[in-house]
Amino acid sequence: MTALPPPAPRKLGLVIDLDTCVGCHACAVACKEWNEGGQFGPLPDADASGREPHGVWFNRVHSYAVERSAERQPGAAASTCAEGAPALGVHFPRSCLHCETPDCVTVCPTGASYKRAEDGIVLVDEDKCIGCQLCAWACPYGAREFSVDKGTMQKCTLCVDRIYNERLEEADRQPACVMACPTRARHFGDLGDADSAVSKLVAERAGYALLPEFGYQPVNRYLPPRPRRDGTNASAVPAPEPAEPLVHEALPPLLRWLDRALSR
């Protein structure tokens, strides 16, 4: 059924750290490798070594330059140091966000596209898919790609065939992209549970959802680049609030020294 399941407490998803992502594409390659042989594979490439290779990838890594115009001093010359702060390079992995209320599920005419009630993973039943591609049109995030070779749509499965796979070591029951990331910029967990590690990370780093104005309520979160030492982009990223107000003067001398040392 392409009707959405009732909201479930469990919302499995990814948290992607744009501060530490170095744009190495290891996540994209590991994803491709796992899903080529996994339950939802193969992910065939056409003309792979030819002139116009094309094929389905569940994960695509974009790169952007952020020109920090907001920090420019009015009247400063173009060559001054403050003005010439280098553009911020941001690598941006883009994959399915496993939205809570996605149109890619409800527009599907066959029931091939569905959202799991138990953990919120959005999947395609390739045996039912007719390849009308309407789900791809309905997704602003480009999460769905049409396989010319298979004639059906394919998309990120959140490695559903890994994360519940009891043949794997428990530590390996994570999406392939998360396992592969050399800078630990990708985190997997239950974003419906406020006490989970990923939820805490999102709360601490002001993680945000992409294009919330579409109303699809993405589950995945992106962590913004941290403020630089020179203070740039500090304005855009709110500094995390301390959990409890700490009055320095009211502390006993030893703790006051510790506070000073740790605040350095």
Binding site: M1, T2, A3, L18, H25, A28, P53, H54, W57, R60, H62, Y64, A65, V66, E67, R68, S69, A70, E71, L88, G89, V90, F92, R94, D103, V105, T106, C108, P109, T110, G111, A112, K128, C129, I130, G131, C132, Q133, L134, A136, W137, C139, P140, Y141, G142, E145, F146, S147, V148, K150, G151, Y208, L211, F214, Y222, P224, N233, S235, A236, V237
Partner: protein, 348 residues
Amino acid sequence: MRPTFSIIVFTVLSGTGYGAWFLLGLGSAVGPLCARPGTLDGISLQLCAEPFGSTLGLLAGCVLVAGGLLASLGHLGKPARAWRALSQWRTSWLSREGVAALLTFIPALLLLVPALALEFTLLGTSADPVAPRWWMAPFWPQPLRSSIGLALAAGALATLWSTAHIYASLKPVRAWRDRQVVPGFLLLGLYGGALLLLAMDALDGMLIERDRTALLLGVVALAGLGAWLKWRYWQAIDTLPALGAGRATGLEALGRVAATEAPHSEENYLTHEMGFVLARKHAARLRRITLMAGFAMPALLAAAALAWPALRPSLVWTALLLATIGLLVERWLFFAQARHAVMAYYGR
């Protein structure tokens, strides 16, 4: 969005077919209207006919609808599984369209098959041409025929409505969220349908025999309305602000975001399907072609047909052909000029 040939042909042909079916269904629902009694060779007689009524029109509608639906299968990756698309009518406009499209064939065939059978009987037998047979449609009792006509009109309208909503419901394609889209699909379907009926009337001589003033005036009015709607739509989509990479990535608060490197060196499905870039220098010209061939000239030809009844057959056929070309160009633009939100990630 990439203008796919199969979808353009489907929406234009089926739209015209369903428009014709809608008018014919309305005609059957209203029932025969009688002209003032006259005399022919000294015998007093009164001509009665359904408004728009024409067996050829029903048949042509059937051919266009079926042809369009078959063409739409060409867009599917797995056409053999198309039957599955009838299952999710609770949520999916595409599924609703499929269900409505097929259900509408029932009243259409209930009217068409007996009408055709009657025509063939009249052609084939000279001895006893009107021996009543169970399948002889025109002899459906009037209340039943009215209900069938009403079902045909409702089904055709529901199909056009669903087709329009397939596009109008796609949030990432902001041009299609425009208010003009749904009325546009209905209106252009009706417009094509009216022209189709006139052209079919020309084939069996009814265009001269019967009074088609209302239909010709309707074509002129629909052409004017259609051109106005399309003009408004183009004005609206031309002023849509771009989404931009900053908004798409959520990094806009940090500064101006520019895509420096794409995730892939070659085209992929997304850039191929959603990143279709129309050569802009042709857009204005194609819009002018739509307005001229699609609306202005057919309206002039229909007005000329009002003035010179003897020339009607050639005038309405020219109008139908020009309007079809215009509508095909219009539909091509509808896709080619609609931008998909995902391209913001690519900085396009």
